[in-house]
């Protein structure tokens, strides 16, 4: 009897020593870690504050290793808060892969969705700013015509093979932040708030000219705002893929293919030919937003139906 009592007391002590964290607490720890580690990395990896364009390809890749911090923060948060790392059921870490119940469909979709909306955005860009259309622009990029046709497939393969960097981001945003946000505030609000957080996380890169350059009115605030809008729309598609497949890997693959730029039509759009008007300067961004919006609407309809 005394032994049982002793065991009970030690169990209670152990329970008390393990601090209970709420979902909000865990999320705040995760966000604190991700933002701190990534911002420190961007500060260290770019000591001379070069712009994205001046850095050169090699250093761009080095700075972009900051993409790994969301997943590192996910693991650290789980260790700090003793949350554990489940591969199924409730509070799933979404790190695993399963093809059961036709979940493989979402892996295929992840490969082709970026191709669809990048081509659509290029088409809209040409429609909005016809002067940008240059049938020989790809030659100035030193790309052969047959290589241009192979580009989407190459982007898909390189995206899938080199998806580790995108996994670095998606493992954190879709694997940790979104499930917590959805639990706290419901899906609708979570998709918007999650997108804004994701966009703000990119701010140091936007400030050195990643994505939008440095030569635009309202730099860098307008760029950060544009990034937030883009992240909200892309975040909806990525969260849909993650929730439906119960894995972050389709989102990682889609993110990687998107970063590889699988567009044939982009080889025919010369930004130097764009007229110096609001529409001419922003045709690319507006095209991408309309294409992403169209994709998001299709996905939202499917999501609601299911």
């Amino acid at each position: 009897m005394s032994e049982v009592k002793a065991l009970n007391i030690s169990g209670e002590k152990a329970k008390r020593s393990v601090r209970e964290y709420s979902d909000t607490g865990r999320l705040l720890i995760y966000l604190g870690l991700t933002f701190t580690l990534t911002y420190i990395w961007y500060f260290i990896a770019n000591p001379d504050r070069s712009t994205w364009e001046d850095m050169g390809h090699m250093r761009q890749s080095f700075v972009a290793l900051g993409m790994m911090f969301p997943v590192i923060s996910n693991v650290l948060t789980r260790v700090i808060t003793k949350e554990g790392c489940k591969f199924g059921g409730e509070d799933n870490s979404y790190f695993g892969i399963t093809f059961r119940d036709r979940k493989w469909v979402f892996f295929i979709a992840a490969v082709f969705i970026p191709w669809f909306y990048t081509e659509l955005s290029s088409l809209i860009e040409i429609a909005l700013s016809p002067a940008s259309y240059d049938p020989e622009y790809y030659i100035s990029l030193e790309i052969e015509k047959r290589l241009l046709l192979l580009l989407p497939v190459a982007a898909i393969v390189s995206g899938v093979v080199g998806s580790f960097a995108a996994f670095g981001e998606e493992g954190g945003w879709r694997g940790y932040m979104m499930p917590k946000l959805i639990k706290i505030m419901g899906r609708g609000k979570a998709l918007i708030v999650g997108g804004i957080i994701w966009g703000l996380w990119h701010a140091p890169l936007t400030c050195i000219g990643h994505n939008f350059g440095t030569d635009y009115p309202g730099f860098p605030y307008v760029g950060i705002l544009k990034m937030c809008i883009m992240c909200i729309l892309m975040g909806i598609i990525l969260t849909y893929l993650t929730e439906k497949s119960r894995s972050v890997w389709p989102a990682a693959i889609m993110h990687a293919v998107n970063n590889a730029g699988p567009s044939i039509l982009a080889g025919y759009i010369n930004p130097d030919f764009a007229p110096d008007t609001f529409l001419g300067r922003n045709a690319g961004f507006i095209g991408l937003i309309i294409a992403l919006l169209a994709t998001t609407i299709i996905i939202m309809i499917k999501w609601r139906k299911s």
Binding site: P47, S61, A154, V160
Partner: protein, 258 residues
């Protein structure tokens, strides 16, 4: 399958490897950043045969990025028999017969596990390449690393092909016979290489010019891109065929065992 994957992860001392590689990556980043901010002392600047001056320190830091992909190929080649060997050792058969795991799932897990290992090793090699190439000026070391990174996909396809051959052999013949066959094949290859080094025309290696290879790569960008697209697809197809063959062999063997 998750449990079996974890078992194999432990059997190849995965935790120790993850810690080791994480520390090595962190060290590489720290050294790289220090060298980038301090610069290379003049005493460590060396000249190659073509009269090009480059930092020997940078060359040293890039060594893990150059060496590890080859090391990874050896590791992977070692892990294939190991994951099967550990099962033979721990009498997993009787354990598995009590579990709801089919024969094809058991073999599939081995293929998935090695596939994951190859993917992680490839990703790590890419990261090390990126770290090594950062802050490098144009020249010999950068050319060398760029050439290396352009053939990484093909290099790791070799790991897949190696596993494609090894799995059916080890499943069919077991640990000891399989190891003997593997050693015999490797020894024949080693003998051929040694014979070539003794009696072959070694002047071929003197003519190797990294600059020319880079130039060739630039002029044949379509062929290289096509290769990088087609290689993973062909490799994975062969890997899948190998899996089907291994399942058949395993099922036949288990039927005889029963």
């Amino acid at each position: 399958m998750g449990g079996l994957l974890y078992k194999d992860f432990i059997s190849i001392r995965g935790k120790r490897l993850v810690t080791g590689f994480s520390v090595l990556t962190l060290l590489m980043i720290i050294i790289k950043l220090i060298v980038a901010s301090v610069g290379t002392p003049i005493g460590l600047m060396v000249e190659n045969d073509e009269g090009e001056i480059f930092s020997f320190l940078e060359y040293l830091i890039s060594m893990p990025a150059q060496m590890m992909p080859i090391m990874f190929l050896c590791f992977i080649s070692n892990w294939v028999p190991n994951v099967l060997k550990n099962d033979e050792k721990s009498k997993i058969h009787s354990f598995l017969s009590a579990m709801p795991v089919s024969k094809s799932t058991y073999i599939a897990e081995k293929y998935v596990f090695i596939g994951i290992c190859i993917y992680i090793c490839f990703s790590l090699s890419m990261v090390w390449n990126i770290i090594s190439m950062a802050f490098l000026p144009d020249g010999f070391v950068l050319d060398l690393l760029m050439l290396y990174s352009s053939i990484l996909i093909e290099l790791f396809s070799l790991a897949f092909i190696g596993a494609t051959i090894e799995f059916p052999v080890f499943v069919a013949f077991g640990k000891e016979k399989g190891q003997m066959i593997k050693t015999a094949i490797l020894e024949v290859i080693a003998c051929c290489v040694t014979a070539y080094l003794f009696f072959g025309d070694l002047s071929v290696f003197e003519k190797v010019d990294i600059g020319k290879i880079m130039e060739w790569a630039q002029t044949h960008s379509f062929a290289l891109t096509f290769m990088s697209v087609i290689t993973p697809l062909i490799t994975l197809s062969i890997y899948y065929i190998s899996f089907r063959i291994s399942v058949r062999i395993y099922e036949r063997k288990e039927r005889e065992y029963e």
